[in-house]
Amino acid sequence: MPEIRDFHAFPDAQGRFGQFGGSFVAETLMAPLAELTEAYLRLRKDPAFVAELDRDLTHYVGRPSPVYFAERLTKHVGGARILLKREDLNHTGAHKINNTVGQALVARHMGKTRIIAETGAGQHGVASATVAARLGLKCVVYMGATDIERQKINVYRMKLLGAEVVPVTSGSKTLKDALNEAMRDWVTNVADTFYIIGTVAGPHPYPLMVRDFNAIVGREARAQLLEQYGRLPDVLTACVGGGSNAIGLFHAFLNDRDVRIVGAEAAGEGIATGRHAASLAAGRPGVLHGNRTYVLCDDDGQITETHSVSAGLDYPGVGPEHAFLKDAGRAEYVGVTDDEALAAFHLLARTEGILAALESSHAVAQAIKLAREYPPDGIVLCNLSGRGDKDVHTIAAREGVQV
């Protein structure tokens, strides 16, 4: 791959990040995608839209989220300073709301009255139901039957917010199947329906649009670091399923070549066991859900079932921009196992009084490993993408505790 001068110049007009991205969809979706692309490219440059979004992010989401120095965790680990970008403190408890607030505004500007969404852990479903309720839009959330079982609290939250949750029983009954089903709904109901994709995957313009709405995370963090520490971090880390919180943190730093970037994928029971969801660390380029990216599939091209203790990382593809950053050598992607994530969950809870989401616990585990590689005056900036309340039952069940 040729040397990249400006990482902020991607994607191109066709939605390509180098060889990744694009619009690999059925003919019936080409028109709605073109309509969405046209509307979004216009709105993202419209000062009135940008001001409206900023107001919502400040007064509804609660931005900016703090950068917090995890001092006791740092002391316990005995390495570089670990800073946490506290996306868990946003309204609804995760970074997902940054994106749904933005897409809901786009939907309203396009005159759509019905919102659909897919969800894995339920965080994106909750964030979609939330903004739909606020704007008075009908909301249908597709969720794999397996995920419904392991995320009951979030399912109930969505219902309380007035959303209809549709169980998906095809395939592996997880996030990828929910995405297939939501795409089908959209194809059938395009006239009044806006599809809020929850991650930086899918066809163009979704990887661009979802990244833009989450990029506030890195923009804020970069300014906060400069203001509070007078310097940029040595290394960034975030968990990567589809990759929206990670690209949100990474994007503002992509052209800061001295800042190392490490994505933490779900290694599940270990990459060698085959029971994992590490598309970048262990997959290969392919085409899934409307874009070319790294995927987990067999030699017949069939997408393989993934495994992770965290539903939000249980996805066999990954956003095309991450595939591009990997091949360009700008970011590294490594696996963190279920056990490592759980250990990090407990350590963070005991040393800092923060219950992290299981997804985010993968990033915390990686931050701990990275902190050991740097001197005490170094800085590891970790995206704490969501809070762990939703995972309490999963953790209790796994550890044999009756709640």
């Binding site: 619009s23 028109a31 085409v287 899934l288 017949d300 091209g301 069939q302």
Partner: protein, 278 residues
């Protein structure tokens, strides 16, 4: 987009074009059944293809099972899942086409499916093996014209890329599709997944008439054709009718070659007769 196939004659390209030319000469509407390869049973996959021809098929659309068929409805998705569970993959499908070709040298076969199995197999390798097996064209649901540069090795090998047009397709895009059409242009008769919804015949008639006037290839209409009656309604204005989900649904669970042939005949012959009685 340039279209080298139209300048390079190949057996496959000729087979599809010859078949549509013959239909036109005879004043008949083509019948294109779709089946998922390996469903209801991999052992009888070749027998099923012959049964389709014996019951009146003019061209066969053979679905290559994929784990994540985004544009298909539950009927075809479940057929894909059943086939994958029995180990059906691209290599097996190509083997069945080759087996079919031992007895049938004339009926065109188009593979229908998604890009990832071919991407993973390798485009050049697939192109060579597909031509060798006797495949005539491909219809890749998630590969619109804008992304079809990757299919260059297929076109160079002589495989037709069957393109789709939909009611939602914008006029400017329709022009591009008509210009690039080869083999036949597949008109999706409603905006939805396979096997759902109802046709509004007058609406489709106007759209298809317009397409036939402009497209550089014949126009086949599909998505939502369920029986002889709905097929006949379309026959008046299309060059061919595609019938998929309803057939796949009928075949599910058929255990023997005889039962498969009987179900195909019971379903397809009335459609054939309705098309010919026009």
């Amino acid at each position: 987009m340039s279209n080298p196939v139209s300048r390079i004659p190949s057996p496959g390209a000729q087979r599809i074009d010859r078949r549509f030319a013959a239909l036109k000469a005879a004043g008949r509407t083509g019948l294109i059944p779709f089946v998922t390869a390996g469903d209801p049973s991999p052992e009888h996959a070749v027998a099923l293809m012959h049964a389709l021809v014996e019951s009146g098929a003019d061209l066969i659309e053979l679905g290559v099972p994929f784990s994540d068929p985004m544009a298909d409805g539950p009927v075809i998705q479940h057929a894909s899942e059943r086939a994958i569970a029995k180990g059906v993959g691209l290599a097996g499908v190509l083997g069945w086409v080759a087996g079919f070709r031992q007895r049938d040298k004339d009926t065109p076969v188009v593979l229908m499916g998604y890009l990832n199995p071919i991407e993973i197999h390798g485009y050049a390798r697939f192109a060579a093996e597909a031509v060798q097996a006797g495949v005539d064209g491909v219809l890749l649901v998630d590969c619109p014209l804008e992304e079809s540069a990757v299919l260059a090795p297929l076109r160079e090998a002589g495989l037709r890329q069957i393109l789709l047009a939909a009611p939602t397709t914008a006029p400017a895009r329709l022009e591009k599709l008509c210009e690039a059409a080869e083999g036949f242009l597949y008109y999706v008769s409603f905006a939805g997944i396979t096997g759902a919804a109802r046709l509004s015949t007058t609406d489709i008639a106007a759209r298809v008439a317009d397409l036939r006037a402009h497209a550089k290839a014949p126009v086949a209409v599909g998505f939502g054709v369920r029986d002889a009656e709905s097929a006949k309604a379309i026959a008046g204005f299309a060059d061919a009718v595609v019938i998929g989900s309803a057939l796949v649904e009928r075949l599910a669970g058929a255990a023997s070659a005889e039962e498969i042939a009987a179900r195909v005949a019971a379903f397809l012959r009335p459609v054939r007769e309705a098309l010919d009685a026009r």
